[in-house]
Amino acid sequence: MAASQQGILDLLSPYPPGWGGVLLSGAASTLAISGGAFLIGLALGTGGALGKLSGIRPLRLLLELYTTTIRAVPELILIVGLYYAGMDGLNRIFAMLNLPAFELNGFAVAIAVLGFVQGAYMTEVLRGAILAIPVGQIEAAKAFGMGPRLRFRRIILPALLPNALPGLANLWMSITKDSALVAVVGYQELALATRLAGASTKHYFVFFLASALLYLAITLVSNAIFKAIEHRVRRGQPKLA
């Protein structure tokens, strides 16, 4: 028993040949990718939600197309398509125009694509959250001469957050797991690191458990953050039950 515990410790040691370091740096890139994609998604989603609610018909149809298609297309095909085929195509056009070929960072492309997808989901989450704000509060803001930006910052945002946070938290949770997709452009995050370690050592169980714990740690920390934000934005709300 002691020997096998020793074995597990060795396996998880942060220094090679232990895999702890690999897992940790995998977790770090998972966080970096997810964070980037989440922020891009937030920006796109906010714009998308406001656009959909703006009542401008062409814009609304365009965004409808965005949310339907982008959510439907598998992320893999988006990343592979954009990074390889898209860039290939561009470079060919550049070559015809006698321009130098360019090289995009695959990592950046993957983050951008994941962010783009997150944006589509967030558009719907935020649209729902805005619709749940009592319309009178927005009218009051208009009546006092607040412009759209001020209105958004001071009234709509604080009022939509309580409604949107659970959906946003869900998206964050799933992006931390979807980030595994960056492997197709050659980057290694937590999920891939786990599989590598498992395949090399055949100690699948140990590593899956270890990475589940790492994911859980990420979750617990983000849960605490989301909860703190929610507590803050729900100030002024009476208890329901």
Partner: protein, 235 residues
């Protein structure tokens, strides 16, 4: 310079990444030998399996060197070098099961097979009418199900199955049921390097190098490090 594309997941003993990020294994040694022979600088690009073909086609690297078998379907899309190894296909199953690897033996049973391997083609041709297939992403998963009794056989590459049979779990439960009868059409072409169709120069260069490595004894030397038998297979 020649850039080799390798799948970024481990497939020991052919290629595996250790915790410090270094690649090693039979196929890596073979790659180095071939490079030495060609007197070329070599580098490794690692990608997920999904990314290999598009990356090859958009020139992120030049050769797929990742235990990819040359099948007729695949060679419609990319070109292959001459094979550099090929191993028989084997059935394994629980010890108490009757040995044998013909269609009669597997009648009414369930066979676990890794997705898109030559064995899956073989199954289609010889076993599909008599036995059920379960498809796995990796053989390790198939072994788990064999242990759990959810399938009766695992059908795969003999090397990988051997190493399972030698493990603790494998020793307890299972045994080799036998190699299947060879069929060059589905099993024969062997593992080779994948190339863009237009890179014919590189193809000749690699083929020459592979032949030379085999001829000068380097091939056997590398093989001996990992296996106690020849893996080149029949000519």
């Amino acid at each position: 310079e020649v850039r080799f594309g390798i799948m970024n997941e481990s497939y020991p003993p052919f290629f595996a990444k250790d915790a410090s990020g270094k690649w090693q294994g039979w196929e890596i040694d073979m790659m180095n030998a071939v490079c030495e022979q060609m007197k070329e600088e070599c580098s490794v690009v690692e990608l997920s399996w999904d990314g290999l073909i598009p990356a090859l086609q958009s020139k992120k690297f030049d050769v797929i060197w990742s235990s990819m078998a040359n099948t007729s379907e695949r060679s419609k899309v990319i070109d292959f070098t001459d094979k550099y190894y090929n191993t028989p296909s084997t059935l394994i199953g629980p010890k108490d099961q009757k040995t044998g690897a013909t269609a009669d033996d597997v009648k009414g049973k369930t066979i676990g097979i890794q997705v898109s391997t030559v064995q899956s083609e073989y199954y289609k041709k010889y076993f599909a009418n008599v036995a059920d297939e379960k498809t796995y992403q990796t053989l390790d998963e198939a072994f788990q199900d064999l242990l759990a009794g959810r399938i009766d056989y695992v059908f795969g590459d003999s090397l990988a199955l051997d190493s399972f049979l030698k493990s603790d779990a494998g020793l307890d439960c299972c045994a080799k049921m036998g190699d299947v009868a060879d069929d060059k059409d589905v099993l024969g072409a062997g593992v080779a390097g994948g190339l863009r169709k237009e890179d014919t120069d590189l193809k000749t260069k690699l083929n020459t190098a592979i032949a030379a490595v085999r001829a000068n004894g380097k091939y056997d030397e590398i093989t001996k490090k990992y296996f106690d038998f020849d893996i080149y297979g029949a000519n």
